[in-house]
Symmetry: C2
Subunit: 519 residues, 2 copies
């Protein structure tokens, strides 16, 4: 795409055709400026095939806001829409609607509450609540889903990999096999969810983190083809980057050539007063090779050098590698904790694609329309009770118990405040028989999850830094029960409805069923 | 991101940090302008878990060319690189190298041959061959992989879904759950690989196809909340879009409410002289509902209206739906072929994410360096023989048999022309005992796969349209054996080395092993 094409493809037309045809229908029916509320939420934590997340991490909001600020129907967009033709060759979009779009086709009327980026989130709890004129709130759907679904998906994968790595540093390497321009959003989400740094130079620059990297096999190959060999390549690298000397040791033979040559070069660096950075292992049995490479470096007196692992890493492979190191290190007279303590994870494809579950099932559902001075709840029933909407203008709260662990997320109606309740009844969103009560005395804190972000298009929240988002994530993860954090078969975190919301939902289900029977 | 940030993040710095540190090393070693050749190829057809592709479809080249034309080291990029610091606080990039980048840091010296977009491709056959100054050919790696891996992945998924659908129309609906901005590239690749149209308005505009869509559940819900009901919503839609009237019928009860209401509205349209377009089914048993909805529409005299299916479709679900319709239709007195003949597939998440295999394992490997007037082959041995490089400056050919079916892709050295050979020996790339010979008489045609695209940065190939690419894809798929096209456990298409290339490879493996033993 050239830049004019990009401006079209990434502006207000970054949406689905049906949003525009529906918006015109609302316009024709006089509903286009009626205030509507849409909730954005996802229904299931990502399931990677045999292992499912116990929680998610919210991400993507800031880039959605950036998009919303710029996206509006410009002349070039309208010229294009004016040319759309239906099956009979007649214009699909009419002049009065296009004129309205040219004047009001922006997000200046949108009010948005959202869960801040970096927070731990759960299924069925709205991560974003949009209120605004029906037509523009409808047109927003596609781009909102696009921005929030992908970054939340990747931040969720990143926190899993982070947690699997027992606190050792994690680098994001996904640019080359990730989804084209989406990799920049993915790298950002990875930095929020768990990565310390990214290899992606441009996005690191934009986000204010130094990009990280080592070198590739091709550098060794080039020196080999020209007669310099692996040792020559290592020496050239060490001469140029004496304080960042991290050497890729698996081009020829990791233990037979790569590690010994790296040690030779590290010794030369040491004599010149430099501290070598470490080695990278990119193939073979990474656990076994880590142990033996660590031993070789220990014997040469390099006990501090890092061992960077890469090659299809994810939470399961890292978990397996750490388990193997713990099982196997002592056989080689090596302290397992010391080996683990020098590991760094380079995580690429499986993070940036959320391998095993490459999409979040986030949806954006109409839950209320403002009519005669009040919010009228909107309903959608599904054959699957879990998919039946939680209707109305709601608030979301997180309840902490006396251990300061998050106990449940509670959805209430707007006029309820669980902090004022002596006893809170928690209803399962769809299963009638599942409910329980909490006395105020069992609760240490209740906090609202949604914060005001936009009020009629105006940003009212100071934008947090990525470091702020990471701090939120770390704090929230620390307040999860260990069972919820299990990588495999986690304990299910409670997401509940208040009495009042539960009753409203049942009432709307009954009335929708009756409507449908009277048809 | 704002637009200044986007310009940084999507320009020349859309690369990995190590490309830049390696480039500086080549500069320091005086190798930066030495001509080098890199091959881009993938090693395995995507395996979606229990079912693997038998072939791929090439895509992404044109957008790579767009990127290469604009990407160069500008002042703002160099200011940033100048600020990078190593572990001791010293600059990582030195002034002389940055000055060189400011003058020569562009792709004007790159020569590129490639397999045209839309063509059927196979593992280990280079889809792109880059020749150019080592430093810039190295820096190109990340972006080239990013552009070609993702679009080739999606075009490959699209052709599978297309082939599963027995020629019925296919719409791309992936924008909302796809990978942020990557969805535009994904929609393009889908259109090359098999989709007829996309719901994505912006990218459809850019590529010159009309965007397609119906309406959402929210439209029905809005009318229900305001007292208009499903029938009111359908009527409003039909009034506004009488020649494109496609109604989503599963909001309340597909057969009890949606289809009868749709038929009511279709009858109204017919009386006004309009031809209704059809219905969309988005939940439930799509095969069963298609049969019964078709019967209801048949009985009302609407035998031509489409049935658009959506909801997590991919090649397996479509195949299963078609099988079930064939098994089940006659029980309801409906002709299965007539039901299938009105289907349209709306394919979203599973296409845009290549569900089951969300990344192509494409690599970019140094295969030769020009030295003393000739190309010196570069080698990389792997413990896995299948990963050992096919070295040197090569050509790729496709051989057709007398049935005009593609029989094998053959890699030769640059000075070989299989069209001149009386007998061609086909060597398996890594397994010594697997080889066979073809007599010229058994062959109907031999064609080169790689075409000249860039000669020292200048585009020498007229850019084909997406329609051209689709025509290539259709012709290539038609020339595949049925066994290679199986969705599950396909017959393995032969990719072979010529005698001369096989011998060179063995010689380089021997010599690399000896080097490593003499160390």
């Amino acid at each position: 795409m050239n830049s004019a094409q990009k401006s079209i493809a990434e502006g207000i037309l970054f949406t689905d055709q049906y949003q525009l045809t529906m918006a015109q229908l609302y316009y024709r029916a006089g509903l286009h400026e009626k205030p509507a509320q849409f909730d954005y939420f996802y229904r299931r934590n990502p399931d990677y095939g045999g292992h499912q997340a116990g929680y998610g991490v919210s991400a993507g909001l800031e880039w959605l806001l950036d998009w919303m600020q710029l996206a509006r129907f410009r002349d070039e967009d309208l010229v294009y829409l004016r040319a759309h033709r239906d099956g009979n060759g007649n214009p699909i979009f009419h002049d009065d609607f296009l004129d309205w779009l040219s004047r009001y086709g922006n997000f200046d009327g949108i009010t948005l509450r959202a869960v801040p980026e970096g927070r731990v989130v759960h299924p069925n709890v709205p991560l974003a609540v949009v209120q605004g004129p029906l037509a523009m709130a409808q047109i927003l759907e596609t781009s909102l889903l696009n921005h929030l679904n992908y970054q939340t998906l990747i931040a969720t994968k990143a926190v899993r990999i982070r947690e699997a790595g027992r606190g050792r540093p994690m680098l994001e390497f996904g640019l080359r096999r990730g989804p084209e321009r989406g990799v920049n959003a993915g790298a950002r989400a990875a930095l929020i969810g768990g990565a310390d740094f990214s290899s992606n130079v441009g996005i690191s620059h934009v986000l204010g983190y130094p990009p990280k990297g080592t070198h590739a096999h091709s550098m060794i190959q080039a020196f080999m083809a020209l007669g310099g060999g692996e040792l020559g390549a290592f020496r050239a690298y060490a001469d140029l980057y004496p304080n960042d000397c991290l050497l890729l040791v698996d081009t020829i033979d990791t233990l037979g050539s790569g590690v010994p040559n790296a040690i030779t070069v590290f010794e030369e660096l040491r004599r010149k007063g430099h501290q070598p950075a470490g080695i990278r292992l990119d193939s073979g049995d990474l656990a076994h090779l880590s142990i033996l490479a660590a031993r070789m470096m220990d014997e040469a007196g390099f006990t501090e050098t890092s061992i960077v692992l890469s090659n299809e890493l994810d939470e399961q492979t890292i978990w397996q590698i750490l388990t193997q190191i713990e099982d196997e290190a002592s056989m080689y007279g090596v302290d397992a904790a010391a080996v683990v303590g020098r590991l760094v994870y380079g995580v690429g494809t499986r993070l940036i694609t959320s391998e095993g579950q490459p999409a979040l099932d986030g949806v954006y559902k109409l839950v209320a329309i403002h009519e005669d001075g009040r919010w009228v709840p909107a309903m959608k029933i599904s054959e699957s009770p879990a998919k039946t909407l939680n209707p109305g203008n709601k608030r979301a709260w997180r309840i902490y118990d006396h251990r300061n662990k998050a106990q449940a997320d509670l959805l209430c109606l707007e006029d309820e405040d669980p902090r004022q309740m002596a006893q809170i009844t928690l209803h399962h969103p769809s299963e009638n028989h599942k409910h329980r009560t909490l006395d105020a005395g069992e609760i240490s804190a209740i906090e609202p999850l949604l914060v005001d972000v936009l009020v009629e298009g105006r940003e009212v929240l100071d934008r947090p830094s990525i470091d702020d988002m990471r701090a939120l994530r770390q704090a929230d993860v620390a307040q999860l029960d260990a069972g919820v954090k299990r990588f495999v078969n986690p304990h299910i975190y409670h997401v509940s409805l208040s009495d009042k919301l539960w009753n409203l939902k049942q009432e709307l289900i009954r009335s929708a069923r009756e409507d449908s029977h009277h048809r």
